[in-house]
Every structure is written in structure tokens, then in C-alpha cells.
């Protein structure tokens, strides 16, 4: 009975938005709980609720995915509210991703926030941001894309600046916010230009209009498309809108960095994939494949090269996150129309694996911050002898980020490169290869510090934060298991991606 359960004719169609709703409701619920007795922080309850909400969203998304909701196996994509929202395989895939990362980060934050004020607000903001991301994945209109993007961004600004007595956090928040505001203005202006050229904000209509005769508005559309791309570039931390990322990730509380660099980035890609593939035909004014090729090459190169010489682990991860944005951009950069679903799917799969390994890496940094270990590579020296399990997990993340087996990052990265070669852009893969080798260098510096170097000074780590540990270990397990279990991921991603290619 299960496969047919969620078909559009058996459940009201709005239920297809259940993952989004689950996240939104949880966020509200957290505020309600907090408002009952604002002076009692009740960390366990808050984190518990947040986790349950995120897991519920994950469960719903997973269930829908396996049941075929919005996918070709049933009746195809479900559109809602005047086609402004869409639920299909890609939506659900990304929602599952956001929910997983959110769950991880919420669990980890339990220990990270211990003894701090405004916990309920923290969790609520996080869930609202997740709601925004989930909505981004479901956007079928530029308006929804913009609103959802802002819904994801505004809580994020607050989250980054959450440690309001910490100059780093505040500075990070400020930079993130200012560049974010600039980008959203660019984004909005771009949308307005696209609207000016096409007369619609709904992606299918835009596609049709752009594919048709634009009667002298080609330039307007072109500028619009480029500016829209700029908006996404901000969200995905791609060059040239990446400037906020190193500082924001470095200054923000580590769980937030993980959340932003994985989920938020993936959300940017989710909406970018949909908007560009279903909204902007390849021949409309701007050769956006070429655009993304340029962005991909510059982004991965800049991210990786800058990461190579960092002294602080967290900042290195920040730059590496930019580098990975460059890899993921290959999904669009090697998009070739009809067969583009493969590389797009590879990119999606990479983002999913990245969600686990990168979040895990930042959560390890959170763990280190929790212990009061310093921030630089040298400070991590010899940590493995004191915290072997976490260090194994961190090594797993690092190697997986570098694309080594037997970890999930191996497949996802190589399938991306493979997609690029398949599309004929072997040079794109070659640039990726150079960057990948360089990334191996700096990722292994972490491993080297943990395992190979001897501790400079003796110190005690203190307590073992159970929840944080659990989150780190779980992320590591997922990263490992995503190698043998990569089949469902890549197959789902590629079929979902293939479904949106017009």
C-alpha cells in the first residue's frame, strides 16, 4: 500500500509540502515553548523538539522520495499555489539534505550552547532558516525564490552574529549581512529585469518567453539573468560573491558555520539549478553554461589555493567550502541540455555527501572550541591521542572532502568530474583535478596535526560532550556508509535532475 499512499489523488496536494511545514511548525513551537516560561532555558527540551522536528521533516521527505511523490513514477511534479511552488524529486532530495544537516547541527548545538542565553531563539532561527531553504528547493517562481532566499538568509545573519559579545561573531555577522543585503538587492534587481523582459515570474513562463522573441529586450534579460546568477552566487559562496564566506564561517559559532556552509550552500544550488535549468534556456541572451564554467573554475581555484595556506582550521574549512562550491558549480557548468541531468544529479549527490562531511568537520571544530583547544593547525597537534574517536571522524571528513575512498566524497567528486568529461569539458575536470590534489594537501594537514604531530603542551580536554560527539560520529558514519550506499543517492539525484530538464 505504501507506494500508492502519497499519490496526488489520495492525499490533498498540499501535504506534499509537509517537510517544509514540519520545519516551520517546529520553529514556531520552539518559540511557543520559550514564551511559556522565558526564564527557564530547558536546553534538553528545546534541542529535543528541534531534533524531532528536523527528523520528522527528514522522514517525510525520505518517505515521499521512496513513495514517488512528485516524481515520474506517479504523476510527475506536483505544483501548488498557482504553480508558484513545485514538489518533485529534486525538491524532496534537497529537503532531505537540509533536514539531515539541521538535525545534526541541532543535536550538536545542545552541547555547544550549554549555559548560553537565548537558546530557544537559536533553535527557532535555525529551523526557520531551514524552512526557507526547504522552500527554496520548492520554488517554481522567481518571487518565491527571492522570498525563500530571504527567509533563509535573515535568520542566518542573526545566527552568525549569535555570540553577540564575541567580536568575531559580530564582525562575521556584519559582513555576512552587508554582502547579503547587497546581493539580495542585486538579486531583486535581476528578477525585476527578467520580469521586465518576460512579463512573468513563473519559471516555465519565463522559459517560454525567453525562448521566444524578446523584441529588443535581450539585453535586459541578459543583465537580469546575470544578476540573478549573482544572487545565487552569494548564497552558494561563489566568486565574486564569496567575500563574506571566509569571515562568516570563521567568526560564526562552529555549528552555524557547518549549517551555513552545507545546508545554506546546498539551498543556493537547489534554487539555482531549478531556476537556470527550467527558467532560462541556454540560448537566451546569456550563455550561462559558459558563465558557470568561468565561475566554477575561478571559485574552485580561489577557494582551494587560499585554503592551502591558512593557519586556522576553521578558516581553512571556510575556504575549502568555497572550493567545493566550485566543484558543485560543475553541475551547471557542464550542463548540456537534454543529457544534463546526469551531471546535475552528480552535483546534487555531491552536495548531499558534502552536507554530512562538511557539517561533520565544522562540528569537530565546534568540539575543539568546546574543549578550548586553539584554532590553528598547531593547536590541534596530538589531539588524536586524547580524543581518538573524534579524530578518526575528523580524518574521515578530511579524506572524504579530499575525495578519497572509502568515503562518500570519493564517489561524489569523481562522478562530478566524470560528468564534466562526459559533457566534453575535460578541461573543467582537469582544473578540478589540480585543485583536488591541492586540497588533499591542506586537508591532510589537519590529519597530520591530529595524528602525526606531537602535542606542544599538555592539557586536559575536560568533559565529553555527548550530543556533539554523537553528531560528529553520526556524520562520520554517514560519510563512510555513503560509499557503499551511494547507489540510491546518485540514482535518485540523477532521475530527479533528469525530470526537471525541459
Amino acid at each position: 500500500m505504501e507506494p500508492a499512499l502519497l499519490q496526488a489523488d489520495q492525499l490533498p496536494t498540499w501535504t506534499a509540502l509537509a517537510p517544509v511545514l514540519a520545519l516551520a511548525v517546529t520553529g514556531l513551537l520552539l518559540l511557543v515553548i520559550d514564551s511559556i516560561d522565558p526564564n527557564d532555558t530547558r536546553p534538553t527540551l528545546l534541542a529535543g523538539v528541534g531534533t524531532v522536528g528536523a527528523l520528522a521533516a527528514l522522514g517525510l521527505a525520505g518517505w515521499f522520495l521512496s513513495a514517488g511523490t512528485g516524481q515520474p513514477s506517479t504523476n510527475g511534479a506536483i505544483t501548488l499555489y498557482g504553480d508558484a511552488l513545485i514538489v518533485d524529486g529534486m525538491t524532496l532530495f534537497f529537503q532531505a539534505l537540509f533536514a539531515s544537516v539541521t538535525a545534526l547541527v541541532v543535536v550538536a548545538s545542545y552541547d555547544y550552547l550549554r549555559g548560553r542565553a537565548y537558546q530557544a531563539e537559536f533553535y527557532a532561527l535555525m529551523l526557520f532558516a531551514a524552512t526557507g531553504m526547504a522552500l527554496m528547493a520548492a520554488a517554481n517562481s522567481l518571487a518565491v525564490a527571492f522570498v525563500a532566499l530571504e527567509l533563509a538568509s535573515l535568520p542566518s545573519y542573526a545566527l552568525v552574529a549569535f555570540l553577540k559579545r564575541d567580536t568575531g561573531s559580530v564582525e562575521a555577522g556584519l559582513k555576512y549581512f552587508l554582502i547579503g543585503a547587497l546581493s539580495s538587492a542585486v538579486f531583486a534587481f535581476g528578477i525585476s529585469l527578467v520580469y521586465a523582459a518576460t512579463g512573468s515570474l513563473l519559471l516555465p513562463d519565463v522559459y517560454e518567453a525567453l525562448a521566444g522573441d524578446l523584441t529588443g529586450l535581450t539585453g535586459v534579460a541578459g543583465v537580469g539573468i546575470l544578476m540573478v546568477a549573482g544572487g545565487f552566487a552569494f548564497k552558494t559562496a561563489s566568486v565574486p560573491f564569496h567575500f563574506w564566506a571566509p569571515e562568516a564561517y570563521e567568526g560564526a559559532p562552529a555549528p552555524v558555520s557547518g549549517f551555513l556552509s552545507s545546508a545554506s550552500k546546498a539551498a543556493g544550488f537547489a534554487v539555482a539549478f531549478r531556476v537556470f535549468v527550467t527558467g532560462f534556456p541556454l540560448e537566451a541572451g546569456v550563455d550561462w553554461v559558459l558563465l558557470f564554467q568561468v565561475l566554477a573554475v575561478v571559485t574552485m581555484t580561489l577557494g582551494n589555493f587560499a585554503a592551502a595556506t591558512q593557519e586556522e582550521v576553521k578558516r581553512m574549512l571556510a575556504y575549502s567550502s568555497i572550493g567545493h562550491a566550485g566543484y558543485a558549480l560543475i553541475g551547471l557548468a557542464a550542463f548540456t541540455g537534454a543529457a544534463g541531468g546526469d551531471v546535475l544529479g552528480a552535483s546534487m549527490a555531491h552536495l548531499l555527501v558534502y552536507g554530512f562531511m562538511n557539517t561533520g568537520a565544522f562540528l569537530f571544530v565546534a568540539l575543539a572550541e568546546h574543549w578550548g583547544v586553539g584554532r590553528t593547525f598547531d593547536d590541534y597537534a596530538g589531539l588524536a591521542s586524547k580524543a581518538p574517536v573524534a579524530s578518526v571522524a575528523m580524518s574521515v571528513f578530511m579524506f572524504s572532502l579530499a575525495g578519497l575512498p572509502p568515503f562518500g566524497g570519493f564517489f561524489s567528486k569523481y562522478f562530478l568530474f566524470m560528468g564534466a568529461v562526459d559533457a566534453g569539458f575535460w578541461w573543467l575536470a582537469a582544473v578540478g583535478a589540480v585543485n583536488s590534489a591541492l586540497s588533499l594537501f591542506y586537508y591532510s594537514r589537519v590529519v597530520k596535526a591530529l595524528w602525526l604531530d606531537d602535542a606542544v603542551s599538555e592539557f586536559e580536554l575536560g568533559s565529553t560532550p555527548t550530543a556533539l560527539y554523537a553528531a560528529v560520529v553520526f556524520a562520520a558514519l554517514a560519510t563512510v556508509l555513503l560509499l557503499p550506499g551511494f547507489g540510491p543517492v546518485i540514482e535518485t539525484a540523477q532521475s530527479a535532475a533528469a525530470a526537471i530538464v525541459p
Binding site: 546526469d342 551531471v343 544529479g345 552528480a346 579524506f399 579530499a402 578519497l404 575512498p405 572509502p406 570519493f410 564517489f411 569523481y414 562522478f415 568530474f417 566524470m418 560528468g419 568529461v421 562526459d422 566534453g424 575535460w426 575536470a429 582537469a430 578540478g432 583535478a433 589540480v434 583536488s436 590534489a437 591541492l438 588533499l440 594537501f441 591532510s444 590529519v447 597530520k448 595524528w451 602525526l452 604531530d453 560509499l483 551511494f486 547507489g487 540510491p488 546518485i490 540514482e491 540523477q494
Partner: protein, 510 residues
Amino acid sequence: MIIEALIGVTFLAALVVMLAPDEYAGKLAFALSLLPVAGSLWMWAGFDAGGNALMAGSIAYQTQLDWLTVAGYDLQWFVGVDGISLPLVVLSTVLSSLAIVSAWTPIDTRQSQFYGLMLFMEANLLGVFTALDFFLWFVFWEAVLVPMYFLIGVWGGPRRKYAAIKFFVYTNIASLVMFIGFMALVFNLPVSSFGLPEITQALQAGKLSGFVGLDPATLKLAAFTAMFAGFAVKVPIVPFHTWLPDAHVEAPTPVSVMLAGVLLKMGTYALLRFNFTMLPDVATRPLVATVIAAVAVVSVIYGAMLALAQQDLKRIVAYSSVSSMGYVILGLIAYTGLGIGGATFQMVAHGLISGLMFMAVGVIYNVTHTRMVGDMSGMADRMPVTVGILVAGAFGYMGLPLMAGFAAEYFIFQGAFASTVIPSAPLFTAASMFGIVIVAGYLLFAMQRTLFGEFSLETDYEVRRAHFHDVAPLAVLLLCTIALGVAPNIFFEMITDAIEPVVAVVGGGA
């Protein structure tokens, strides 16, 4: 299912050892490592496949399960062995076991991690030699790097971190280059999976189509070049060899044994499987063949000359590995039964002999704490048995008849001399053969200065006799080397059986 059991048991053993207490880890690891040894010997005993696995020959112990589908291609769990891979499987298990024993003395910290990683590496090596699906193979191929990085980086010498990272990054970038080259081929073939047999057969049926403006012939050349460069680092072929001496010098003895004994063979194995089996028409172009033969000769002579200039015993053996691998390349490009067969045989032979040499040097190092030629002399006086075996091994390295090295080198020379693929084959062959003189030169000089003469030692360590468990692996390796030299058909017959179709494609002779 025997291959799955083999790999699975080894992985499991790695895990168990990793969790075992340090005191017992070494013994436990050895005991557990006997399981894959037994398994591989059992496979060998029951082996009766003929032909080349990639070229429609029968594949022994095959399993083929769909794993996942990516971009419309099936990626399978596809393993099996033929006459080329089985000897290497046996070599891997045996050498791993012996390397573990040889670690008992020198490894005195974090033992359980060390042995766990050794077994983990072994499991991946087995995967490399049995996988018949490209991605499956590639997973194992890359996974070998991870334990190696730690093994060098944690337990190595003073510059271990530099050596580990150099090895790590260098070989990784090579894999990426190779990957791109191979993918460019696969995507222009009408195949539905990454199964190596399917790809090989499609290539040989001439089904390759053009790609980004390249016609099939040019595409093949480009892919060949990329793959060759990629594997050349692993082998390593001059001028991509500089990571090897660093890695060897810093690595602890058992790791050097594995590195020289098995890891280098991954490169030549891959060259044989990919470049020379899949793209014979590129390899046999006169210009390509000339370049490869020249590179082989340079590797042999230049590597040997470098060995001549070294003072560190391990560095000597390391450079001589570069030299020996040059022979393998020469044998491969010869495209004759004896040439390629000899090259494959050399993989096994060199695995045994270089393992023996590194182990013997390690045993001496255990008691002297130096490997520098000038720091000691007259070691034969204090460690007669070890030195005796070392001398025997050194002569094996020099290609003494009735030891495996001679057989391999002779097959290669004989195969290469009459090669119709290499232009002026006799000259190239004769040039590379001069390596046998230089190898004798540097080994004899080093032995004279360290092993013979009046005993003296620069370091302040009390020289004691080696333990039985230090010497026993040496003896086993020596006996294996002699057995293979006296009766090369132990492996050679099945190797040539699997080589024959490769040679037949080119139309080369014996």
C-alpha cells in the same frame, strides 16, 4: 564468493586488530593475516581459467553484482582473477603476512593501529588486483593511499611528514589525470557499464567515436598519454619517481616492504591492464613505442646510476626499484609473450626480492640504528645469518640465475630483443641490459663496505643477534625467490596464458 570472503575477512581482521590491545596486536595480526594467505593459496590451487579476463577469457572466481547506476552506466561489484592478477593476489597476501612479522621488532608504538592499517591496506590491495569494474577498482586503488599515508606519516623516520604528504599528493594527482583520460574513452564507447572487459572489448572492436573535435585515433592517443602519465607516477617511471626514495627512506621497514613489494606493482599492473591491453594500437605506434622504450631504458640506467650515488642502504634499494620497474616497462612495450609475461613475472619477482632486501636492511637497522653505508662495517661478523640471506637476496637482485629476478629479466630481455613493436629493439634491449652491470656495482660496493671487513659501528647500540621472527620472513622470501627462479612455470605458465590474447592483437611473436 571466495574473493569477497578474502577481502571481507581482511577488512574484518583490520578492524579487530585495530581494537585489540597493543601488546597482542602484532601476533594477532599475523595470525589473522594467515587467513587471506590460505585463501589466496586455495584460489591458486583451484585456478583453472585460461585467457585474459579483459579479452573474453574465462574469469576465475567471478562475481558480478549491480551496485549503482550513474549517468546511465552500471557500476558493478565485479571481481575475478585471471593468470595476470592471481600471482599478484598471492604476492600481496604472502608479503603482507611477512611484513607484519617483520614489524614485530621495529614497531613499538601504537601497534594495534599499525597492524590494523597494514591489514586495511592489504584488503584494498586485494581489491585492486581483483576488481574488474573500473570504479570498483578505482575505489580500492585510491583507498590504498590512506593507510599508506598514516603508515609513513606516523611510524616513519625524521622527515616522515614531508615524505607522506609528497607521496600522498603526488600519486593522487596522478590518479586524477588517469581518471580523466579513462573517462574520455568510456564516454565515447557504446558500453552500458564500467566493466573493464566490456570496455576493452568495445575498444578493440573499434567502436570508439570522436570526442570534442578529436577523431578516435587522436582521442586514443590523448587518453593513452593521460593514463600512462598517471600510472607512471605510481610505478614510478623517471622522471616521476622522486617521491619514491623519500617515501622509502622515511617509511618503517614493513611499510617499505609493502611499498616496494606490492604498491609499485599496482602501477605496472594498471599499465598492463589499461594502456597495453585496451589501447594496443596506440602503444604500438612506432613513435609511442620508441618513447616508451626510451623511457624504460632511462629508468633502468638512470635509476641504477642514482642508486650508485647513494649512501643510505634503503635509498639504494629504493632507486634500484626504479631501475627494476624500468625493465617491466620495457617488457610491456615489447608486446611479445615473453616480454609482457616476463614483465608480469618481474612484478612478482621484484616484489619478493625487494621485499627481502628492505626487510634485511631493516633487520640490520633494528640493531644498529643506522643505515648509512659509512657508519658500519663487518656486520657479517655479528649477524651471520641475516647477512647471509642479505647477500643471497642481493645476488637475486643482481639477477643471479635460478633466482626469480633472473628469470623475469631474462624473459623480458628475450621478449624485448625480438620485439617487432619497438623500433631498433635490440639496441634498446641491450642498452637496458647494461643495468645488470650497474646493479652489481652498487650492491657489491655497498655490501663490501657494510657487511665485510673488520666490525665497527658508529652508533652506540649493542649489536645483538636478530630474533628468529626477524629472520624467518627473510628465509621464507629467499626460498620463494629461489623456487620461482628454479621453476618459473609456477606462475609463468598461467601468466603467459593470460598474456597471449594481448599479444595476439598486435600480432607479436613469442
